[in-house]
């Protein structure tokens, strides 16, 4: 709980729900007849609507990117390190929009919301949505907010993939893209990790083929296990070593199978707290959206041709210890942009925090990111 709101915080914020009555045709072939998008905004939209930036969230993220929803909140939004007055994404200059993605579990239409056709929760019947589907739905949100062109679309990890997709799908609607700790598609190893996570969820006896709500239960074990596995891939060996090492909870080995090492205790805590705040069907859906992301597929697997129509300028950032989406994967994006002759800036940030580094207050990272954003602000007269 914040005793008082820090000066560089966006302060107390509350989400807005936008109900959209026009149908959305999805890549999987199904159509959502209507849907809700929940979003938060920070800062003020300027008179000519040129200072809007879109924040795209990652696998377990949501619309609450910055500030506090109440004075009882233990922590601020998930990207509070980067969003706020005077921060890298300066809310004194930008109008920041962050929606919860379709298929999410924090208010936007998804597996845990009511299907108007049946009057019951969608549950496992909610269609799998893709990154291009998200971009289409976010474009509808932009229309409703009167934003013809984003000054920037920004995201890390799966959010970075959405930023890239925006630049490819709707080139005229975006001036800049900021793609952080992302990849142009998942590797076999990435998909393998996702499949282990899905198997953990689906093999939980409380999963009931995704109909757990009907049985008034939750696949706690499975979702928790998926989160534990995911969490390991978000951190580096070095970061885990620094934080926990081989530290024991009780100071001595017990020769038993209970939690002994601090890292075991930490993973269990991550797992149990995650289960309380996240939906298993959404987790499955998000991992599928990741697996399916491959914008070059429509262009004979030629990433250079894929980015040929991009009009946005790009900032691409990677982190040295990120092994989930390593710098090599970011360089694939950069090299395609170079081959297509597009303006791009690329920084590889020395960081030991692994994939999670994109959420961390790393001075060099925030300096480069913030300076780039200031250039955008000057360009759009924000």
């Amino acid at each position: 709980m914040p005793e008082s709101i820090p000066a560089d915080s966006v302060g107390l914020v509350s989400p807005t729900t936008l109900h959209i009555d026009s149908p959305l045709k999805l890549d999987c072939g199904r159509t959502l007849p209507s849907y809700d998008l929940v979003y938060e905004t920070y800062g003020e939209l300027n008179a000519d609507h040129s200072n809007a930036v879109l924040i795209c969230h990652a696998l377990s993220g949501d619309h609450h990117a910055a500030g506090y929803n109440s004075m009882d909140d233990r922590k601020p939004g998930w990207w509070d390190t980067a969003i706020g007055p005077g921060k890298a994404i300066d809310t004194n200059r930008f109008f920041v929009v962050c929606p919860n993605n379709l298929g999410g579990c924090k208010g936007s239409t998804g597996p845990n919301t009511i299907n108007p056709e049946t009057g019951e929760c969608y549950g496992p019947d909610f269609p799998i949505v893709t990154v291009p589907d998200w971009v289409r739905s976010q474009a509808v949100l932009a229309d409703k907010l009167g934003i013809g062109q984003w000054a920037a679309v920004i995201g890390g990890s799966l959010g970075g993939m959405q930023a890239l997709q925006w630049a490819i799908s709707l080139p005229e609607r975006i001036k800049h893209t900021v793609i952080i700790a992302a990849a142009p598609k998942l590797s076999a190893q990435n998909i393998a990790f996702n499949e282990v996570a899905r198997t953990a969820i689906k093999s939980d006896p409380d999963f009931h083929d995704g109909d757990y709500m009907r049985f008034n239960t939750l696949p706690r074990q499975g979702l928790g296990l998926a989160r534990m596995l995911g969490h390991i891939t978000y951190l580096s060996d070095e970061a885990m070593g620094q934080k926990f090492g081989r530290e024991l909870r009780s100071g001595a080995i017990q020769y038993g199978y209970d939690v002994e090492f601090q890292i075991e205790s930490y993973l269990r805590y991550q797992s149990t707290s995650f289960v309380e705040r996240f939906d298993a069907n959404t987790y499955l859906l998000m991992t599928k959206a990741l697996d399916y992301f491959d914008p070059a597929k429509e262009f004979d697997d030629d990433l250079t041709r894929t980015v040929a129509n991009i009009e946005a300028k790009s900032l691409v950032i990677s982190f040295t210890s990120d092994w989930r989406f390593s710098p090599v994967r970011s360089r694939e994006i950069v090299n395609a942009l170079l081959a297509a002759g597009k303006p791009v800036t690329y920084a590889e940030i020395e960081a030991h925090q692994g994939h999670d580094a994109f959420l961390m207050p790393i001075p060099r990272y925030l300096d480069i990111f913030g300076t780039y954003m200031q250039q955008i602000a000057a360009e759009v007269a924000a």
């Binding site: 170079l338 800036t345 690329y346 940030i349 060099r364 250039q375």
Partner: protein, 200 residues
């Protein structure tokens, strides 16, 4: 941002509207200066501590290790590829030189002349590795691992079938002198060469 002596020479050699690649671009001063003449391109730099300066200067900067070559760029994709005051810090200058003329229609290479008489005196009479304004580090801690003289560089060019289209040899004050004209390898401090791959 002010330009160094070698950068002033380079700037004069590049025509308006050219597409360039600046290897080891530092704070982006050269590209920033050239942008006013509609010259576009990218800067490559291994150290991202000056990236914020580059971004402020409005240039596209990319983190890259020049020792790995320029494989991310296609053949002849730039009008000029520039490497100034960096050749001596490269692990394999011969390899990078070939990469420069593969990627660029023309290459511009600037380097401190190790054949300057002061360097020669320090080694010949003092018996110590030379330390100078352009090369201020002691031998054990210097990033400058491949120093060469003007003659050495010209020999490397000819061994790699490069034509020297132009060159400029000056001192740190950016001044030419009779001595430099007569004996460039003895009196020149900074050398800048414009080269091109011979077609055969």
């Amino acid at each position: 941002m002010s330009l160094r002596v070698d950068q002033q020479i380079i700037s004069d050699w590049i025509p308006d509207g050219a597409k360039i690649l600046d290897l080891g671009c530092g704070n982006g001063a050269l590209l920033n200066h050239l942008q006013q003449r509609n010259i576009t391109g990218y800067g490559l730099e291994i150290d991202n501590s000056k990236f914020a300066d580059c971004i402020r200067a409005g240039i596209n900067v990319l983190q890259a290790d020049l020792d790995e070559g320029l494989s991310q760029f296609a053949d002849q994709s730039f009008d000029f590829v520039i490497l100034s005051q960096t050749l001596q810090a490269i692990k394999r200058p011969d390899f990078l030189l070939r990469e420069i003329v593969r990627v660029g229609k023309k290459g511009i290479i600037g380097f401190p002349n190790f054949g300057h008489w002061q360097c020669r005196m320090q080694l010949a009479l003092g018996g110590r590795m030379p330390v100078s304004k352009a090369l201020p580090n002691a031998w054990y801690e210097t990033p400058n691992i491949h120093l060469c003289t003007i003659q050495d560089f010209e020999q490397l060019c000819s061994m790699n079938n490069l034509t020297v289209l132009n060159h400029s040899i000056v001192n740190h004050e950016h001044k030419d002198s009779l001595g430099i004209r007569l004996l460039p390898n003895l009196f020149g401090q900074i050398a800048v060469y414009l080269v091109q791959q011979q077609n055969d």
